[in-house]
């Protein structure tokens, strides 16, 4: 079974996303900020990362750049999932190695559509 790491400082968002992603037959792991997520990835690279932008300790963009420098860090499909969704933020996310961008708020249909878009399902 594939693994998806959900990185968001909101427990509510993590809980909602986890429920939807589990229904897509993924194992789900959670992290509350970029540093915690990076620590997880160093132990076990997930297949996918759903990534918030603004978080304490380490934000989503810094995490993504650090992840892509890690050994095996180019493997996970990274989908930003953020309320910061103007053209500049989206462009910067894609330039930094994100594969997709989900604009909050999201629902099950959007997550399923985006997971299909990047070939995860």
């Amino acid at each position: 079974m594939k693994t998806c790491l959900i990185v968001d400082d909101s427990r509510v968002v993590r809980k909602v996303a986890a429920r939807i992603i589990k229904d897509m037959r993924f194992d789900v792991a959670e992290a509350g900020d970029g540093a915690e997520a990076l620590e997880y990835c160093r132990k076990q690279m997930p297949d996918a990362v759903l990534l918030d932008w603004n978080m304490p300790v380490m934000n989503g963009l810094d995490f993504l750049r650090a992840l892509r420098r890690e050994e095996g860090g180019k493997k996970p499909v990274v989908m930003f999932c953020s309320i910061e969704n103007d053209a500049e933020h989206v462009s910067e996310a894609l330039r930094s190695g994100a594969d997709e961008f989900i604009m909050k708020p999201f629902d099950a249909e959007i997550l399923e559509s985006k997971f299909a878009e990047v070939g995860l399902i």
Binding site: D86, M103, F106, I110, S113
Partner: protein, 282 residues
């Protein structure tokens, strides 16, 4: 919903659009007519039915019938069909036609996502065999409001995230001040929209190389499906093809069409020498 109200509205849908709404889905009637009932100040659907029966207003009745049809659509729905169309079918049609022009009709195209998806696909990944071709895309729908929305090319937050990659969203859309996403002028200029009821003759629309009628017939009763199939067949150019939604079929509905020998899942004009298929309506 009372049986009398349901029967009146289900009958309106059947006569107006061929849509068969079963009693078990009466919630669809409530959901789809609620905006009109609110706008007109009706306290209930019973009041709306009373108005429809007491005052002969064909325009209002047609609006209600159109509102009862599903508008469910999204960008790049059943993408494989669009890819086959662009990569395989259109190049063959272009070569066969020898005019440098191709005409595609999206029948029952709702709010335009299907038409714009095809236009985007042709813009982003134009097959070499189609370069230089003039490709006309016409999308029609019974619902005037859906056509008006399609023409604006404006879609909401949820609509642009269903089937559309962020790369295509950024490339082809701009965000408006109201927070909607508007498709580019270039793509809008490549698609035209027109109100049309599939139960009526489509003679005025012209002839087409390819007709896409996807996930439209499945909601109709058998008599309507048969009538629409004949009507679509009449608008095909010689050698033209009809593409349906996944799982949809025309078997037993018309003698005018048969499965294409060249493109699996597509339908073309029937060989007149072939034994006809029974089209009795149950």
């Amino acid at each position: 919903m009372q049986d009398g109200v349901f029967n009146e509205l289900a009958d309106l849908a059947l006569k107006g659009s061929g849509q068969a709404i079963p009693r078990s889905k009466s919630y669809l009637i409530e959901a789809r007519l609620a905006p009109i009932a609110r706008r007109e100040g009706f306290g209930s659907l019973e009041d709306l039915v009373h108005c429809l029966k007491s005052r002969a207003n064909p325009v209002f009745a047609a609006e209600c019938a159109a509102a009862l049809v599903s508008k469910d659509t999204w960008f790049f729905r059943e993408r494989e069909t669009l890819q086959r169309l662009a990569e395989d079918i259109l190049p063959v049609r272009l070569k066969a036609g020898n005019t440098g022009r191709l005409k595609v009709w999206i029948a029952g195209g709702s709010t335009g996502q299907e038409a714009y998806s095809l236009a985007m696909m042709l813009e982003d990944d134009m097959p070499p065999a189609l370069r230089g071709a003039k490709i006309e895309i016409l999308s029609t729908d019974l619902c005037k409001a859906a056509i008006e929305r399609a023409r604006t090319g404006r879609y909401g937050h949820y609509e642009v995230q269903k089937g559309l990659s962020i790369h295509r969203l950024m490339k082809h859309f701009t965000r408006t001040d109201s927070g909607q996403w508007e498709i580019s002028e270039v793509l809008r200029s490549r698609v035209s929209f027109r109100q049309h009821n599939l139960l009526e003759s489509a003679g005025g629309l012209g002839k087409f190389d390819v007709i896409l009628c996807r996930n439209v017939l499945s909601g109709m009763d058998r008599a309507a499906r048969s009538r629409v199939a004949d009507s679509l067949a009449a608008q095909l150019m010689p050698g033209g093809l009809i593409l349906l939604g996944q799982g949809e079929s025309l078997i037993g509905l018309t003698n005018q069409l048969e499965p294409s020998r060249d493109f699996r899942g597509a339908w073309g004009a029937a060989d007149p020498n072939r034994k006809p298929v029974a089209t009795s309506v149950a």
